[in-house]
């Protein structure tokens, strides 16, 4: 079944066309990657899909619902959860609290409940505390749970962002260049986590610069260049695709 369907998605900033007529389908349960050189329009594409940027033309359908003009928080509530290329940490909170914020969509209660603290709310707070620990253990940050999130090294902040996104109960997880700025060891740990997430049945849409990572873990890859989709296929097909090699991989495969 197709979980995310993008048709003719276009974004123009004044004269510049950042995304031109991009169409792709992400199957439920798959691990889909979008790659492309810097400035190819990957993040623009991502921002439109997650509702952070209005599109100029085209449509986005998620789980059978048109989400093209939907507000970010409503898209998130449908189960489309994203992370950011520039980590958006809640610096003033602990690592565990960051994940607890992630449970926002999965919990309820406003001002009144917070003041009265009825039994169901206490149970809910207990519950998310336990689950937050589990998610931190899952990404390997269990030991840092009570640290200030802002004190985490960059690579761990990325993992924390993934754990936080997982707390929101995604059906589709959008990861925006999660390996950017990570060393080889951290990238391996991240690849492991992403594959485990996918193994739990969560569809993953990944934007990545690190071709090695992508060809290793993705089931299907779409390649963007100058705002257009120039190829789509399995990792093996993409590696051999002449346009892709010309545009991107030709200079990158040796060190990837």
């Amino acid at each position: 079944m197709t979980l995310l369907s993008v048709r003719g998605l276009t974004k123009r900033f004044d004269g510049l066309t950042a995304n031109s007529e991009i169409s792709l389908d992400v199957e439920e349960g798959s691990l889909f990657a979008v790659i492309g050189p810097n400035g190819a329009g990957k993040t623009t594409f991502f921002n439109m899909v997650s509702g952070f940027l209005p599109s100029t033309a085209g449509s986005i359908t998620f789980a059978g619902t048109d989400i093209t003009t939907m507000r970010q928080d409503k898209i998130a509530a449908m189960g489309l959860i994203r992370t950011f290329q520039l980590v958006q940490m809640f610096q003033n909170m602990t690592v565990a609290e960051n994940v607890e914020v992630g449970f926002h969509l999965k919990t309820r209660g406003g001002v009144g409940a917070a003041l009265v603290r009825p039994p169901w709310l206490r149970r809910q707070e207990e519950d998310i505390r336990v689950k937050a620990r589990e998610l931190l253990d899952f990404v390997g940050l269990g030991a840092q749970a009570d640290m200030d999130a802002g004190l985490l090294p960059y690579g761990q902040q990325r993992l924390l962002e993934v754990a936080r996104a997982m707390a929101a109960g995604p059906r589709l997880l959008l990861l925006d260049e999660p390996a950017a700025g990570l060393n080889a060891h951290e990238t391996d740990a991240l690849a492991d986590v992403i594959q485990h997430i996918n193994g739990r049945g969560i569809t993953v849409l990944l934007i990545e610069h690190d071709v090695g990572l992508v060809t290793r873990i993705a089931h299907r890859i779409a390649v963007l260049d100058f705002g257009c989709k120039i190829a789509e296929g399995t990792p093996d097909e993409i590696k051999k695709h002449p346009d892709v090699i010309a545009a991107y991989l030709g200079t990158e495969t040796e060190n990837a």
Binding site: S50, F52, R71, Q72, D73, A76, A77, I81, R82, T83, F84, Q88, M89, F90, Q91, N92, M93, T94, A96, E97, E100, V101, G102, F103, H104, L105, T107, R108, G109, G110, V111, A113, A114, L115, R117, E126, R129, V130, R133, A145, D146, M147, D148, E161, R164, A165, A167, A168
Partner: protein
């Protein structure tokens, strides 16, 4: 670390801080009670400003938004109380709640369009809100009595019980501040409070997790307005007199000082800041004509050496994790 111990750590540290702060404040209040006189008035005003600051902290501290205009709602509370009590002979407690209700509605009406702005623009818009309210309170003489203001506002009370003794007034105000702090602490450590604090550092991150930013900003703004209104009403009842100047730009400056000296974004900071910033002028008064310079000097030193506010001092000597999970640090 296992889960149960982490929970007990949180509660334990919260308790530790509350007790430490309470002892310090307690000693101070004992001194004020024994000494009496002018100091009582200073502390009464500190408590009233404290109520205002606890509310402002929701918007500026937890949510990280700038408002230079929350004094508008203090004015609404003060004048609401004055008009309802003096002109219509309402019960003070009813007038206080009625004014809060009016302020709440007004803050929704004003906040809905205003909170679309961010950063400096939001600061300017809210500042204008305070200035407009000031002008209204000066010009709309048939209701506000202009510069003359209102006098003869009855003291706080319910039915036949009125609080007229200066010491009792302070006790009542302290109870109200403690209640305000209790609400603040409970809300801070809840789903609601976490959403506010998430917004303060990353609106992008918060909205990607499904948090409706505009909704929560407005909620924090309204809470701040409710506290401000209550503070305005309390001022009217305790002092018995209000004028436009009471809720003017001076109030914005004073409450900002309190918030930052005490620790913006912490639970106890606003109350601690209100007490310290109210007492400080009295302490430096002994320096005679240099008192303004001395006051400014102390403030600058505080902001340089305790940038996170005095409530952060309670965190000294505690392990890092405790400090970060503690609502007061």
């Amino acid at each position: 670390m296992t889960l149960p111990s982490s929970i007990s750590t949180r509660l334990g540290q919260h308790g530790y801080l509350a007790v430490g702060g309470a002892i310090l404040l307690g000693l101070l209040f004992v001194f004020v009670f024994v000494r009496g006189g002018y100091l009582l008035t200073v502390m009464q005003l500190a408590m009233i400003y404290g109520v205002f600051c606890i509310g402002l902290n929701f918007f500026m501290g937890y949510t990280g938004q700038a408002s230079f205009g929350q004094n508008a709602f203090a004015a609404l509370g003060g004048y609401g109380t004055a008009v309802l009590c003096v002109q219509y002979g309402w019960e003070p407690i009813l007038a206080l709640f009625a004014s809060m209700a009016i302020s709440g509605v007004a803050s929704v009406v004003v906040g809905y369009p205003t909170l679309r702005l961010r950063g400096h623009y939001l600061a300017m818009a809210t500042f204008a809100l305070g200035l407009i309210t000031y002008d209204i309170s000066v010009q709309w003489q048939s209701v506000t009595q202009g510069y003359m203001g209102y006098s003869g506002i009855p003291p706080l009370g319910i039915g036949p019980f009125t609080v007229e003794d200066e010491r009792w007034k302070l006790v009542v105000l302290m109870v109200i501040v403690l209640f305000g702090l209790w609400i603040s602490g409970r809300l801070r450590n809840s789903r609601f409070g976490r959403a506010l604090r998430a917004i303060s550092t990353s609106e992008l991150g918060a909205s990607a997790l499904g948090i409706r930013i505009s909704h929560y900003k407005l909620a924090a703004f309204v809470i701040a307005a409710l506290y401000a209104s209550a503070a305005g009403s309390l001022f009217a009842h305790v002092v018995g007199f209000i004028s436009p100047e009471v809720f003017g730009a001076q109030m914005v400056i004073v409450t900002f000082t309190m918030l930052y000296v005490g620790g913006v974004g912490t639970v106890l900071g606003p109350a601690i800041g209100a007490v310290i910033a109210s007492l400080l002028p009295e302490i430096v008064r002994s320096t005679g004509r240099f008192q303004d310079i001395a006051y400014a000097l102390v403030l600058i030193l505080l902001l340089i050496y305790v940038p996170k506010g005095l409530s952060a001092l309670f965190g000294i000597g505690r392990p890092r994790p405790a400090k970060t999970t503690n609502p007061g640090s």
